[in-house]
Symmetry: C2
């Protein structure tokens, strides 16, 4: 009977810019080889100093115009930051859906309100989530002596379906996709078009434990047998192959 465990890493204190996040997680978790550690983007961004003070933002007329058309009526400075982080705006009626510099398609370029040291600030996505995952993986190895996989995750909305789910932005030390094409199904027939987004499944699994209000910025996925290497970048559908962009 195959069994996978999802274990919250508790007791991680509020993360500040410059904090050694790998040490903060590694010292609170008893890791085993083959574990995948899913870390919330928000604490990664905070540790990396990917924070913008709202008071430093100068808004353009475009940001003011878009802000007025959004249901959430956001601070136009927040819209401005989301625009700054984007290469393309897909929708700006009711909600702001952009393509980020990394190629992620998500609401508000992944920019989020955050209270950092009492300041009214915004967190931005990590500059390179795969590099963030890789650095965390290296640091966890140093701190614990254990080789694990790391996913930097965030919650994204989806077209066609309601609610947000946790997805993998950055990946290190595990495959992002598992290509079963050429394998046979239970009936012995070839599987077509069956590429599993295993890193997204693992991120979503961690999402059950992470919740949104509970202070569990890291979750261990144990027993998933996800050997190999991959990147979060591989999970991004190329714009020219995307039928819905």
């Amino acid at each position: 009977m195959k069994r996978v465990e999802l274990i919250a890493v508790d007791g991680v204190p509020e993360v500040q810019p410059g904090d050694d996040l790998g040490e903060m997680i590694g010292s609170r978790a008893i890791l085993q080889a083959g574990d995948v550690v899913v870390v919330a983007q928000k604490v990664v961004s905070k540790a990396e100093g990917r924070i913008v003070d709202l008071d430093t933002i100068t808004v353009t007329a475009r940001a003011v115009d878009i802000a007025a058309r959004l249901i959430a009526r956001p601070d136009p400075r927040m819209v401005q930051v989301a625009l700054n982080e984007s290469v393309r705006v897909l929708r700006s009626e009711r909600v702001l859906i952009t393509e980020t510099r990394h190629g992620f398609v998500c609401a508000n370029s992944g920019v989020d309100h955050s209270n950092v040291g009492g300041r009214n600030a915004l967190t931005l996505l990590p500059l390179d989530p795969d590099a963030s995952a890789s650095r965390l993986r290296d640091r966890l190895r140093e701190v614990t002596g254990v080789e694990v996989g790391v996913i930097v995750s965030d919650t994204f909305g989806r077209p066609w379906r309601l609610g947000i789910v946790n997805v993998a932005l950055g990946v290190a030390g595990l495959p992002a996709l598992v290509d079963l094409r050429g394998s046979l199904d239970d009936d012995g027939k070839p599987l077509h078009a069956t590429v599993l987004a295993v890193a997204d499944d693992a991120a979503a699994a961690a999402g059950i434990v992470m919740g949104k209000t509970g202070r569990s910025p890291a979750v261990i996925v144990r027993g998933a047998q996800l050997a190999g290497g991959g990147t979060g970048r591989e999970l991004i559908r190329a714009p020219e192959e995307d039928l819905f962009r």
Copy 2:
């Protein structure tokens, strides 16, 4: 430390039309109150007889035309069945993306090749996945005496991201969405636009264990503390509120 377990239900034999799937799963699983049992759509469809013999299908010119434009070069009869199951075609270049009668947006209306008793057949999605989940829940209660939640899941592709992930089509005995709006985050600030698709997270988690080739048509999600009620229908974004349809 919050902990969730994902446990494969092993040893379920090949499912045939008319089979008592609830008994087949319940007799092989030691369930606990509060467990969520995620069951693959394919075995639900087989048990419910949602199967079409390819030899009984008459194709239209439209199905032949679409089949020729798809990368997978499917049997036009398969395209015909997908069209029959749909209320709308969103894309028919390279891949066939439809809106099903239920409102799901997915590839080929969720129609899948299947070897059922040696016949060259197709499985269709359950007519009413919420009703399927509800019936399975009732049957599991009868067989095991335990009150569980049930998700009927399938693997769907996504725009913008590569690979397929497991999602919840039918839900019974657990919430589909958890609305955290009005709650406070760790910093004591109100959470905006934070509706978690917990049933999709749970389905994706089960997907790690289910795999695609391993014969684990059911997975127990234990410890997720998903109390309440909901339906898979709630996870469908209304077409008039959908910006990408």
